[in-house]
Symmetry: C2
Subunit: 376 residues, 2 copies
């Protein structure tokens, strides 16, 4: 096993890239989808099951973990990997995004953000330096720069000022991160939907220098068309020889469109959150298992899926346990959704390797256009 | 694999019996503890995990299943085993007990009980004949007679009349069950805490003839001392060569005391329900994982336990995920509790086989008396 963090590009088909990230905790096959383990657990899943779906890395949320059980406690207990029984790589966000979406009484200054916990109202502070400290205490393999991310739409001046603040914070994050062999710090490109601001942000990040580069500030309300228009240029502004991570994306077709445009890594709560609300993602689109049409249906969600939910249970069973509010409903549908997401990633990796990404993408869209199997 | 239902007594130590029930769906090692899978799922567990704990059989609830998704639907879908992905034996109760505890607007006649569903208020009927039909539709391997069970304390006249009604219903259950090779019908002894009524009930059941005999009407508020006093004679009143099943029991020390008195099978929601409320059963008694003393404790619940919760997680983690109301809390603690219950059963089976039940029991109580490990 390597002692260094490294990225190797193994192939390319159009703009879609096949690659491998090496870390002391294991390899990450790219394009990679990272399940979200907010509070030191991917909700409704045992970590060995998350690994069984094919995930090489998962994401932890700095904001949630700093509030409960606290980074200092996790450090005393041996770090996040040991705490949550996940030995593969972990990426943590910086906390910035969730302070903005979850905390109350936020106060933003050049130094950082003060806020009150959404759990108990206690007062906390996040800055580039504190975020680096927390992510180090957690033992995160891939650390994200502390940044500010305005919701869209926002006016150009607000986006420009926010991006420049984030770039000053990126320099402070790099400085505070220091020299940590085997660990990576990723810069985060901002600039909203403005190509020139995205370019300015990318240049600022390249001047600082990072092990990887994220595209931030998307999937915040702008819609898929606008996001794809931005992704038509944003990845190209980032270094060719480093992984590119699109934060907080997305639905299956968002993910395919992002990979097509040169993105290597993504994360989203959607497959796990939807699993708990009775929504299953399949090759043929979304299935709402609570729909009465499934009550007597002996067929699996997807007869070609090899996950436990599809291998061992009927739609009728999944419908029943959802209606009865049984925990196994969320357990099975989350497993299915995470499995399906990883199948998409594997399908894209295989297609890029064989130079057939366009065919794969056409089949992906054709399968979805077919829609769910007709009722019996 | 056998095509018949059979019970073989393999050993005895004092009154404690070691045995084996053979069914076409697999063997049940006795003394056996049956986890409860009320609504076609042992809450918070995958069925393969339930099997991993060592369970040979689980219990389904006729009352819940007849209301949702209905026995007819489960029959159309291929039976309860297939529906819930559990291939080993299943015992179903008759529905009588839960009609009394959960349904509203109950009306009891010689024929049976009419009631309204606690889920949607719809009107339903249970009788010996209907209960047999439902349990046949479910595909239950061990079917229970439809009976009436008064809460204790109750006056002798009420208990006597209720017992005699249950005995008439037992004869009708036997008649309605018919001849079903490979399946078993168990009679249920009633009679409260009155030895002569228990004796009369046992004689009535023996005259009808069953594949197994349950002790009903205990663990309904009488306390452990009164229950054990009844168990000092009740099992002896039942046939020596058939399994004896004590319904709805219980805490670990209830179970040990029952086996000591000649009981072969038990069921209880306690290990699974407690797992979802943060209570863990260990060799050293009950651990309340929500207690602040565990917040920084890197030690497992029980260092000698081989379940996933103890092998892979600290008390601090279990405390954190309980406080954060994460589903993995109920998943891990339920697994631990069911594993611990099955360890008790295996310990008793081994002790009976080697004629050391008294030593085993003394150690069981001594371990509990020690109490939980001291805080760090």
């Amino acid at each position: 096993m390597t002692t260094r963090f490294a990225f190797e590009k193994l192939g390319q088909d159009g703009k879609a890239r096949l690659g491998r990230i090496s870390t002391p905790r294991g390899e990450i096959r790219t394009p990679a989808f990272m399940p979200v383990g907010t509070a030191a657990t991917v909700k409704a899943m045992m970590p060995e099951s998350v690994a069984d779906t094919g995930a090489d890395i998962l994401l932890g949320n700095t904001y949630h973990l700093m509030l409960r059980p606290t980074a200092e406690r996790i450090d005393r207990l041996g770090g996040l990997h040991k705490f949550m029984n996940w030995s593969k790589p972990i990426l943590t966000d910086s906390g910035g995004f969730q302070v903005m979406s979850l905390a109350s009484l936020r106060k933003l200054t050049e130094d950082g953000v003060t806020f009150k916990s959404h759990i108990d109202g206690s007062k906390h502070m996040l800055s580039p330096e504190r975020s680096m400290e927390i992510q180090r205490l957690l033992g995160s393999d891939i650390v994200m720069c502390f940044d500010e991310c305005p919701a869209l739409p926002a006016d150009r001046k607000r986006i420009e000022e926010s991006m420049r603040l984030s770039m000053r914070w990126a320099a402070r994050s790099r400085e505070a991160f220091g020299d940590r062999p085997g660990y990576a710090l990723f810069g985060i490109q901002q600039g909203g939907l403005e190509e020139d601001l995205r370019g300015e942000s990318a240049r600022a990040l390249r001047d600082i220098g990072f092990e990887g580069y994220a595209i931030g500030g998307l999937a915040v309300g702008e819609g898929q068309e606008a996001m794809f228009a931005c992704l038509d240029y944003a990845p190209d502004q980032l270094p060719e020889d480093r992984p590119r991570y699109l934060m907080g994306v997305g639905k299956p077709d968002d993910i395919v469109g992002a990979v097509k445009r040169g993105v290597d890594m993504m994360d989203c709560v959607l497959p796990s959150r939807s699993g708990r609300t009775g929504q299953a993602f399949t090759r043929h689109g979304v299935v709402n298992i609570k729909n009465a049409r499934h009550a007597d249906d002996p067929r699996p969600l997807d007869e070609n899926c090899s996950c436990p939910a599809c291998r061992n249970y009927s739609r009728a069973y999944l419908h029943h346990v959802f209606r009865a509010q049984e925990m196994i409903s969320g357990m099975l549908l989350t497993w299915h959704n995470l499995h399906y997401y990883q199948e998409i990633m594997q399908g894209m990796r295989d297609a890029i390797a064989s130079g057939t990404f366009a065919d794969w993408e056409a089949r992906f869209h054709a399968d979805r256009a077919e829609g769910d199997i007709p009722p019996l």
